[in-house]
């Protein structure tokens, strides 16, 4: 059993932070790796990237957006409650080295995933420009942490309620134009990664993205997480989750993420009705 020792709500209660006791995983985990969590007996196995780890305290931190039944169920867990299963660390860690200027772009909860990578890039001696975006100011997460983790932080909102009015891709283009960027890391909703990759491609900047296909085991045994990279099938849980952003078939990934949308809706609605009752 894996006890929750801290819980925070952000982004109007839609994004939740859980710090969880998992000493073995905390000791091993590196930036870019993820865990699979299962709340209870009947629960689904849900992959979430570790936003932070504390090896001394023996805890890991995940930050997730409530999008369906399983994440809504996670949200009902309070400090002191336990996840039945937490498995990890899974996936390959981010390759971090000193390359010069690195631009880290995050959208939505992707910022949570981006945060430890940004920090590691800066610790490796890179000049790190971070660009984060959200639909509006209230939905923006981890601004202070991202400021601390980077050398230079730019913020955008779709509605202009804060920072630059517009998409992260606009700011990214500006940065690519002005700076000599050696590496880009893009993490967020699939469309964001798709369009931001097109920008970095224009400037021939090596680009990493972190993919989030639907998973079951997370150990390369089911093939459910397969993605097409440069025309070849890869398993995101063991070959990734990070890949060359210029090689990813984003349209296939977007379609595959919809595989269960009807069943998920049914499951979520039943859960919400029960919650309210």
């Amino acid at each position: 059993m894996f006890k929750i020792v801290r819980k925070e709500e952000m982004s109007e209660g839609n994004v939740i932070l859980n710090e969880i006791e998992a000493p073995l995983i905390a000791q091993k985990a590196k930036p870019g790796q993820f865990v699979i969590l299962k709340a209870n007996e009947t629960g689904e196995r849900i992959p979430l990237t570790m936003a932070d780890t504390d090896p001394e305290k023996g805890t890991i931190t995940v930050i997730y957006m409530v999008v369906g039944k399983s994440t809504a169920l996670f949200k009902t867990l309070q400090v002191g409650d336990e996840y039945q299963d937490v498995i990890g660390p899974l996936g390959k860690p981010t390759h971090v080295e000193k390359v010069g200027t690195v631009v880290c772009v995050g959208g939505g909860t992707g910022i949570a995933v981006l945060h430890p990578i940004t920090r590691a890039m800066k610790e490796a001696g890179n000049h790190v420009i971070a660009i984060i975006g959200a639909r509006s100011k209230d939905l923006l997460i981890l601004e202070d942490q991202m400021r601390a983790a980077s050398s230079d932080l730019r913020v955008c909102t779709d509605d202009g309620s804060y920072g630059h009015h517009g998409f992260v891709t606009d700011v990214l283009k500006e940065v690519c134009e002005k700076e000599d960027v050696a590496q880009a890391v893009l993490i967020g909703p699939v469309p964001m990664m798709k369009f931001a990759s097109l920008v970095t491609k224009e400037y021939n900047i090596p680009t990493l993205v972190s993919l989030n296909p639907i998973m079951v085991d997370g150990t390369g045994m089911c093939g459910g997480c397969r993605v097409t990279i440069g025309g070849k099938t890869k398993f995101a849980c063991v070959d990734g989750p990070e890949f060359d952003g210029h090689q990813v078939d984003y349209d296939e990934l977007m379609a595959r993420l919809q595989a269960y949308c009807e069943q998920e809706k049914q499951c979520y609605e039943e859960f919400c009705t029960l919650e309210q009752a």
Partner: protein
């Protein structure tokens, strides 16, 4: 003479097991056969000739003393029968249900030369079930603690066998399992209607009661490495991690929604209980027209699961002919009875999808048998211009499994063959790395439960020797 003739006439026929009718069972996940009652079991046991040189035993990979356990059933000593089985086989309730008996013990039974062989598998299952339901649950005696620690990686039949053998010898045994539940293929692969999960749970519980430590959610190679296990003070490590890498066909359209590896399909249904969705949260695609590629046990399990999840048609597409079907004959028979259609000498070419990337059909090619190849099997060759379309909204790829590299690649000094399987000494299960043994599917490639257990037993003996005398 006359007497003997008379005796022949009265010969007891092989006792069949009562089972759910095909129409009913194709709609539920309950076990298909009900099992023998005591009288039927004793009657079937009386068919055994108690051969002095029993050929059946030669057919059993772990040399179960078949005439001896059958004799006990005949006498009505069912506990005694089960104890006899346990001497060679730690999981008789499982093997009685899943061994390919027609190729092993029953295939060699002398009675089978002129008629139907003794139903050894059914009797094995009966004895084990009887003991589970009526036995005292008394634990076998455990030797004095040796102070030695053994780590078993993987809780499939192979790992469980090693754990069971070594705990009895007084060693301190811990099983590490990547999934949240123990049992390996017995839990995530083989469906409830063929092997009730309660049986696997009880077998594991039996080991835990004897003192085996069970650590689930431990992906060895990630959560902890083998070298770290030695640093933590383990004296020996057994790798029974199975052949957990799905094989795909590598044909166009294979990443459409509605195409699963059998591993994913069966894991969703069995381990995650997607067949009980939405009571359980994991969803599964329920196809109307389902095609399963392949014809092994895994394919039969997939095609029959599809029927139970509501498919209107469930087809098996196989590139070779009926003679080459590798599945247990009982499963093929059950699948046919339930309405699974078989398309032999048929090879998939490509998949088609709609604008939402959902599977709508596939193209196949008719094959014919050519000249025999090196293995003596007639090689299937495509017939030019024989392409045809098969409509389907769910396809399950069950064409075999490979070696999962997650653990082996994170372990230094472990010799692998060209396909990524671990190389071991065939007599002891020793790997090229000191203190490390391996067995089961990760050594042989996808094989059978009983072979994985046999390898486990062999390795356990060798590990015990090592812990007493050295490498």
């Amino acid at each position: 003479m006359a007497e003997e003739k008379e005796g022949k006439k009265k010969k007891t026929p092989r006792q069949s097991m009562p089972e759910q009718g095909p129409a009913v069972r194709a709609k539920n996940f309950d076990e298909v056969p009900f099992g023998y009652d005591e009288e039927t079991a004793m009657l079937e046991a009386s068919r055994c000739l108690q051969c002095k040189k029993p050929s059946c035993v030669e057919g059993c990979p772990v040399s179960v003393d078949i005439p001896a356990f059958i004799a006990k059933i005949k006498e009505g000593d069912f506990t005694g029968a089960c104890r006899k089985l346990w001497e060679r086989n730690a999981l008789p309730a499982v093997c009685g249900r899943v061994c390919p008996q027609e190729l092993q013990c029953e295939g060699k039974c002398i009675v089978g030369k002129k008629g139907d062989p003794v139903a050894i598998g059914n009797l094995e299952r009966f004895a084990a079930d009887w003991e589970r339901h009526h036995g005292t649950g008394e634990l076998p005696p455990i030797e004095e603690p040796t102070g030695k620690r053994v780590a078993v990686v993987g809780s499939g039949p192979s790992g469980l066998t090693v754990a069971g053998d070594l705990i009895l010898k007084g060693h301190d045994v811990t099983v590490f399992e990547a999934f949240h539940l123990p049992g390996g293929v017995l839990i995530y692969g083989i469906p409830e209607f063929r092997l009730p999960k309660e049986i696997v749970g009880q077998e594991v519980n039996f080991l835990v009661r004897q003192g085996v430590n069970l650590e689930t959610n431990q992906v060895v190679g990630r959560t902890v490495t083998i070298d770290e296990l030695f640093e933590q003070g383990y004296d020996a490590v057994y790798l029974g991690v199975g052949a957990g890498l799905p094989r795909f066909l590598n044909i166009p359209g294979e990443n459409l929604i509605g195409i699963y590896s059998a591993n994913e399909y069966l894991t969703r249904s069995n381990l995650m209980k997607a067949y009980l969705f939405p009571k359980y949260d994991t969803p599964i695609i329920k196809g109307k027209n389902v095609v399963t590629l392949g014809a092994g046990n895994v394919a039969m399990d997939s095609a029959r699961t599809a029927l139970r999840l509501g498919a209107e048609s469930s087809k098996i597409v196989y590139r070779r002919s009926r003679q080459e079907v590798p599945a247990r004959s009982a499963e093929v028979h059950h699948a046919e009875e339930e309405g699974v259609e078989f398309h032999f000498l048929t090879n998939p070419v490509r998949f088609f999808g709609d604008e939402k990337n959902r599977l709508t059909g596939m193209e196949c090619l008719q094959m014919e048998l050519g000249e025999p190849d090196d293995s003596g099997r007639r090689r299937p060759l495509p017939i030019k211009g024989s392409e045809f379309k098969l409509e389907c909204d769910l396809a399950i790829i069950a064409v075999g499994a490979g070696a999962n590299p997650l653990l082996t690649q994170s372990t230094e000094g472990l010799k692998l063959n060209n396909w990524g399987y671990i190389i071991t000494d065939p007599k002891t299960g020793k790997t090229s790395k000191k203190g490390v043994w391996a067995g089961g599917d990760i050594v042989t490639g996808a094989a059978t439960v009983i072979l994985a257990m046999g390898a486990g037993r062999q390795a356990a003996d060798s590990i015990d020797d090592y812990l007493k005398w050295g490498w």
